[in-house]
């Protein structure tokens, strides 16, 4: 028996390709069959025909689902989701940068570790729990309204909610509330890549820039930011893609207009129009692919 195991293992060590093949087969089978297979099944169904009278799907192939993506209402959904994803990405970058910058440049060793854990924990903390917490915080009986009330700022809040686009009846049903929750949920995904990129910037470059007479703002603009930009883009891949596909937060917080995610969810669920749902999922796939291509050009993959 030991002789046999020795023969087998030595053969595997010498026949490197055979070993490689054996190692790769299970994960490749799993991903090839289960995952890619499912993706193709989905893609294929996006060409099926949905009969809105009988509410049933037939196997006749059609481009109708893709064409209807360009109907005014559907285009509206796509643009609404896209602009939210862009807004959330920008907000995350603005909030994340000072945090990442402070922790890499000024944090002591212990402080750095503290910041790292303090970012990791909310990042991995349960998505639904965080969303739940926000539904309670933003509600009219919630802590924010209470705070505004005690600071005598209720009228300021009211007039903020009167504004078009971001406003709404209450914080919890406003576009602003949804934006806050999205930004909160995906923020940690932006901090860590920026921090990693900052970590790689040699300090003497900044010193050299200062020695040569640049003001801090100039050093930031001309030296630091270009070097860290790939990290920002790397983080934005997450914030952008995650916002684009989310369908829980738009259901729970904010006004009633559909998002790509909620559209897909209702189409396949209550309406049973799997073909249109499938065609809709192609939208984020294409948007994310375009984004990834741009990100690759910005060098974001080296910063991941």
């Amino acid at each position: 028996m030991p002789q046999l195991s020795r023969t087998v293992s030595n053969t595997l060590y010498r026949k490197n390709n055979l070993f490689l093949f054996l190692l790769l087969t299970p994960p490749l089978l799993w991903f090839g069959v289960v995952y890619l297979g499912s993706l193709f099944a989905l893609l294929w169904q996006s060409f099926y025909t949905f009969d809105s009278f009988s509410m049933s799907v037939s196997n006749d192939l059609t481009f109708e689902n893709y064409r209807s993506l360009f109907d005014a209402t559907n285009l509206d959904i796509i643009l609404r989701t896209l602009s939210m994803a862009v807004a959330v990405t920008l907000a995350c970058a603005c909030i994340a940068f000072p945090i990442a910058y402070y922790m890499t440049r000024y944090g002591s060793r212990a402080e750095k570790g503290f910041f790292y854990i303090a970012v990791m924990l909310p990042m991995w903390a349960s998505y639904i729990v965080k969303t739940y917490a926000w539904t309670v915080i933003l509600s009219q009986q919630g802590i924010l309204y209470w705070l505004f009330n005690h600071l005598d700022l209720t009228s300021a809040l009211e007039s903020l909610l009167q504004l078009p686009v971001i406003g709404g009846n209450t914080l919890a049903t406003s576009q602003l509330g949804r934006f806050i929750v999205f930004t909160y949920i995906w923020l940690p995904f932006m901090i860590l890549p920026i921090q990693a990129a900052l970590e790689r910037v040699p300090t003497n470059l900044l010193q050299a820039s200062a020695d040569l007479g640049a003001k801090p703002a100039q050093t930031f603009r001309k030296v630091l930011f270009p070097l860290v930009f790939p990290g920002v883009v790397a983080g934005s891949i997450f914030t952008f893609s995650l916002t684009l596909g989310d369908y829980i937060i738009p259901q729970l917080i904010g006004p009633s207009g559909l998002y790509i995610g909620t559209m897909v969810y209702t189409m396949q669920g209550s309406i049973g129009n799997m073909p249109l749902a499938a065609a809709f999922t192609v939208v984020p796939i294409i948007l994310v692919s375009i984004y990834l291509m741009l990100a690759k050009r910005a060098g974001a993959f080296d910063a991941l």
């Binding site: 087998v8 030595n10 993706l39 989905l42 402070y102 991995w124 369908y247 897909v264």
Partner: protein, 264 residues
């Protein structure tokens, strides 16, 4: 980078950001211990016993623990195999394979979910425990892969060669040389995968059918505000069950270049 004195506004922004990240979590923690009798608000453990008496909560927790355990186990095997195959060799299609491993977390979760659902519809597979496990294992593989491949890259191959030169066979080398070096990376990856699976919601909704995992239970609770006290306690428990493996994974990979959780 070296440290000198930080401008006060920067420090304020940085710590302000941390406060923003943590106050909803602290809010949940506090809420779990608060009871309101009439107008008086006080500390209580009453909701905890109420939670343990609820069968629906207990079975949701049990299901989520079972799913996370099995999915992590499957992902450990496949992630390690993929890492072992891909870390040293360069061959045609390697890029495609790594891209494919990342795809389940790079694409929005709703796509993975609905794709698996449509495949299940076509093959007429009834959703249940195993469909949840399969969907979770699919996106957990890359977590294990990331952790293990980083460790493999830092491990000098000369150790393996030395072991073989000294007469150990492949299995002995694996058992006594490779495995001990991988151990903490495997454990850290497993902890992260477990945490990820335990509170996954987006994909699970599509693959769970009528099964209720803990995150799905929480989502259903949102429509029932009267149960808020129970929901608060369960929310806190979910938070703790995931926080412990995360901190564990951090300490296991600290000082190595593998950033635990890079690319959730």
């Amino acid at each position: 980078m070296h440290s000198d004195k930080s401008p006060i506004w920067l420090k304020t922004l940085a710590y302000g950001g941390l406060v923003f990240l943590h106050f909803p979590i602290i809010f949940i923690l506090i809420n779990a211990f608060v009871a309101n009798d009439g107008n008086r608000t006080h500390f209580t453990l009453r909701w905890f016993s109420a939670v343990f008496a609820r069968d629906d909560v207990m079975s949701a927790i049990a299901l989520s623990l079972k799913v996370a355990t099995v999915a992590t186990f499957l992902a450990l095997i496949m992630g390690t195999m993929a890492a072992a195959a891909l870390y040293r060799r360069n061959f045609l299609g390697k890029e495609a394979i790594t891209t494919m491993l990342i795809l389940p977390i790079a694409l929005p979760g709703i796509i993975t979910g609905i794709a698996l659902l449509s495949a299940m519809n076509i093959l007429e597979i009834d959703p249940g425990f195993w469909t949840i496990v399969v969907s979770h294992a699919t996106f957990c593989v890359v977590i294990i892969y990331n952790n293990v491949v980083a460790r493999f890259r830092r491990m000098p191959h000369s150790l393996v060669e030395a072991s073989m030169d000294l007469g150990a066979d492949g299995f002995m080398t694996f058992r006594h040389i490779i495995l001990p070096q991988l151990a903490t990376a495997l454990l850290a990856g497993a902890l992260l995968a477990f945490a990820l699976s335990f509170d996954e919601l987006i994909v699970t909704i599509f693959t769970a059918g009528h099964e209720v995992t803990l995150p799905i239970w929480l989502l259903n609770q949102l429509a029932r505000p009267r149960d808020a006290a129970i929901t608060n306690v369960v929310a806190m428990m979910v938070m703790l069950i995931t926080a412990i493996p995360i901190i564990g994974a951090y300490y296991l990979t600290r000082g190595t270049e593998a950033i635990a959780g890079s690319g959730k």
